[in-house]
């Protein structure tokens, strides 16, 4: 066990040594611009093609349908905004959910300001979207459905295949934000009828600053970045070659043994969940007990502030999160926790611990040793807790 325990893999992961290894030559030796016609450039292009093939293979997609972007956010923006604007003549209605990442939600807000109607489907208490509700929300104006594969905060896995079957039947485009799902949820864009899919390398042990969007052949999506003719004229900007190579290697490794990876992480996850539930009272597990990412643990501890707990854990060498990293700088309670029906004061007390490949049982046991004490200490300082002690147990 190292001197610190990293349990924030949903925010970002370290880059695997094997991935880094493959990236390095593309900084200093094979640094050509992939668009250059000389052999430096051509070699770069070959490396890019390999990364594209590896990415396609992990999704059961055609390599020609993979487009590299600067981030998962850019991929989400491109999918939602691009598909909406390119298909505007067919209709102006978009369906999404209340628990999407802000890269999707804020893009939808932007589209609303520009004349689109957006339906935000609710989720149940576990954060699951009902596929039949998607069907019922589709009108003759609907052009796009965007539902994330798995949620970044509570880890809930959505019925993507069912939704895909419905959108295909209705002739509506289907985008899924799979940023959190790659490596944990097996993806098959054909079997699941996915038209657009976003991913980001730094969530599956690849580098930051690189993402990809899968765009099924024939699907129109207006360009987001304008300029050179890169990415078959659909995404301008000199290709970020080392990072693209890193993404290719990382996704190949992530897709290699999803069941094995999940089995390892689930054992740790379940140990952590069971341990917390049996040692901390007034603790609520957020998200579904089974239909959740193998590495995701999300709890609300009544009567305490998530931020305070986070800082106490940090002092003990444990890195966690109170929600998604993107919003953890704000004091608003998580929109995801509110969507699954938690009241404001409880949504404030959430803790997300997300496991990764290097975490050990020893580390989990250390967390289980430290966490109940910290919660207890923070509660003793909480006037709310003292008032309600002996009152109703919230679980």
């Amino acid at each position: 066990m190292g001197d610190r325990i990293y349990l924030d893999h949903a925010a970002t992961t370290y880059t695997k040594p094997e991935v880094l290894e493959e990236m390095l030559p593309y900084f200093t030796k094979q640094y050509g611009n992939p668009s250059s016609v000389h052999s430096f450039g051509r070699e770069s292009r070959k490396a890019m093609d390999l990364a594209r093939e590896r990415t396609a293979k992990a999704l059961n997609a055609n390599p020609n349908d993979i487009f590299f972007t600067g981030s998962g956010t850019e991929a989400d923006n491109w999918a939602v905004k691009g598909a909406a604007l390119a298909n505007r003549k067919k209709g102006n209605h978009i369906i999404t959910t209340t628990i999407e990442h802000h890269a999707v939600l804020h893009t939808c807000n932007y589209l609303e300001q520009n004349g689109f109607d957006v339906t935000y489907l609710p989720v149940d208490e576990y954060g699951i979207v009902d596929a039949e509700q998607v069907r019922n929300a589709i009108t003759d104006q609907t052009i796009l459905v965007s539902v994330m594969t798995a949620n970044n905060e509570i880890g809930t896995i959505q019925p993507i295949k069912e939704i895909g079957a419905i959108t295909r039947e209705k002739g509506v485009l289907f985008h899924t934000d799979a940023v959190q799902a790659i490596g944990s949820v097996p993806i098959d864009v054909d079997d699941m009828n996915i038209d657009l899919l976003s991913l980001a390398a730094h969530k599956f042990y690849g580098p930051k600053g690189i993402g990809a969007l899968y765009i099924r052949k024939g699907v129109k999506a207006q360009q987001m970045l304008h300029g050179g003719a890169q990415e078959r004229n659909r995404r301008a900007g000199t290709e970020n070659l080392p990072a693209i190579v890193g993404l290719g290697k990382a996704i190949e490794m992530a897709a290699l043994d999803i069941p094995g990876h999940n089995a390892r992480l689930e054992a740790l996850r379940n140990r952590l969940i069971t341990g917390i539930l049996s040692t901390v009272e007034h603790a609520r597990l957020n998200g579904h007990p089974e239909k959740r990412l193998s590495g995701n643990v999300n709890f609300c501890f009544e009567f305490i502030e998530g931020e305070a707990l986070l800082l106490s854990l940090d002092i003990k060498g444990i890195a966690g999160s109170s929600g998604s990293a993107c919003t953890s700088g704000t004091l608003d309670p998580s929109h995801v926790l509110l969507a699954i029906g938690l009241p404001h004061e409880i949504a404030h007390g959430s803790l997300r611990l997300t496991l990764g490949e290097q975490n050990t049982q020893e580390e989990i046991d250390y967390v289980l040793e430290v966490l109940p004490q910290l919660v207890q200490r923070l509660r003793e300082m909480s006037p709310l807790f003292n008032q309600q002690k002996g009152g109703q147990i919230f679980v």
């Binding site: 970002t12 880094l20 200093t28 430096f40 600053g209 993107c326």
Partner: protein, 385 residues
């Protein structure tokens, strides 16, 4: 045979110390700067450090720097973000005919949405006229976007004078400068020069690909083009590319040192190149005047030859050059930049671009010149028409 890389305007090798810093980030400081724990705070600290380095190269303040996924995104953000923000004030923009596609295509996108764009022509040296620019400015002009150094010919625009003129004139349109090719090779100080927005790219300053930056003068507002987690003050959503950012900071630091210490060395390389080429090929044409162009880019036409054939033949000699910008070298049309300078087709066809960096040595140039002579003579035997 020693390889000679003279395509630094397309991309530059990443410096060893930059790679070190990137590896350190990927392995050790891999946190998400938005996270509240130590690793997150450490990542945030490294972003600030990098901002400090870039801002000292630009002589601006740290909070005026936003990181992007590259120069293209920075240019798109500047042009689209300004136009969307100022659309109630006006819908007229001014740019030049020789901008990079990431500016020109962004304007084309605006034209589709009802904006009006004036394209300034350039003279045979590739330089705009200040008077002409002045005459185009109207009450509804919201944006002027002019590149500092052209990527194909190296021609330099009078940015400082333009900035002064715009700040003194009526309306004060937002002034954007694409400084991707000039950063670290020529002084460019947006805060002092009246520049409101300035685009930079990492991989042109020996930092990695996939990272760029936009200087946004304090008080200048633009609309974001990426929506999401509201990172970087809400201006640019998306998890920050920490290794890229750190790499760009290191690159900027090194460029600032080189600019201060050996700004003259690029000029020496250029004058030797020009002298050597014109001596061996008296009918070669230098596109853009030597005085009006930056030292690290030379665009030379060999009448009667085809640039692409020359490029591939040079490659067999271990020399890497370009026929134009890398971005457009896959599309078959002639360079829009050389066309705007009024060159005839014979020169257009036979032009190549040689671009150096602070890593290029005089020895490289001495070895390059005989290889060039040999190569041109070899081709001429077959193709001279």
């Amino acid at each position: 045979m020693k390889e000679i890389y003279l395509d630094n305007a397309a991309t530059t090798p990443v410096l060893p110390q930059v790679v070190e810093a990137i590896i350190d980030c990927l392995k050790n400081d891999y946190g998400n700067p938005s996270s509240m724990h130590r690793l997150g705070i450490q990542a945030e600290k490294r972003v600030r450090e990098a901002k400090g380095r870039l801002s000292s190269l630009l002589r601006c303040t740290e909070d005026e720097i936003i990181f992007t996924s590259g120069g293209t995104e920075a240019n798109n953000m500047a042009v689209l973000g300004t136009a969307y923000d100022k659309k109630r004030r006006g819908r007229h923009c001014i740019t030049t005919e020789i901008e990079h596609p990431s500016v020109l295509q962004a304007f084309a996108h605006l034209e589709e949405q009802g904006y009006e764009v004036s394209y300034l022509p350039v003279d045979q040296n590739g330089v705009i006229s200040l008077d002409h620019l002045k005459s185009l400015i109207r009450p509804d002009t919201i944006l002027v976007s002019i590149m500092h150094v052209n990527n194909e010919t190296g021609s330099i625009q009078p940015i400082r004078q333009i900035g002064a003129m715009l700040k003194a004139g009526p309306g004060k349109p937002v002034f954007h400068v694409d400084a991707i090719q000039s950063l670290g090779k020529l002084p460019v100080y947006p805060a002092q020069w009246g520049i409101d927005l300035l685009s930079a790219s990492g991989h042109k300053i020996h930092a990695p690909k996939g990272i760029g930056a936009l200087y946004i003068r304090r008080g200048v507002r633009i609309q974001p083009i990426l929506f999401g987690g509201n990172q970087q003050g809400g201006i640019r959503s998306g998890t920050e590319n920490i290794p890229g950012i750190v790499g760009m900071g290191e690159g900027a630091k090194w460029m600032a040192e080189r600019l201060a210490e050996e700004g003259g060395c690029l000029a020496q390389l250029k004058s030797r190149l020009l002298q050597g080429i014109l001596q061996a090929f008296p009918d070669a044409v230098i596109n853009g005047s030597a005085d009006a162009c930056a030292s690290h880019i030379i665009n030379v036409g060999f009448p009667g030859l085809r640039g692409e054939i020359l490029l591939h033949a040079l490659e067999e000699e271990g020399v890497y050059v370009s026929t134009g910008s890398a971005c457009s070298s896959r599309d078959k049309r002639f360079s829009h930049v050389l066309k705007a300078m009024g060159l005839n087709d014979r020169i257009l066809e036979g032009s190549i671009r040689l671009s150096t960096s602070y890593l290029t040595t005089m020895q490289d140039i001495e070895e390059f010149l005989p290889r060039l002579t040999r190569t041109v003579q070899r081709i001429e035997r077959f193709t001279r028409r």
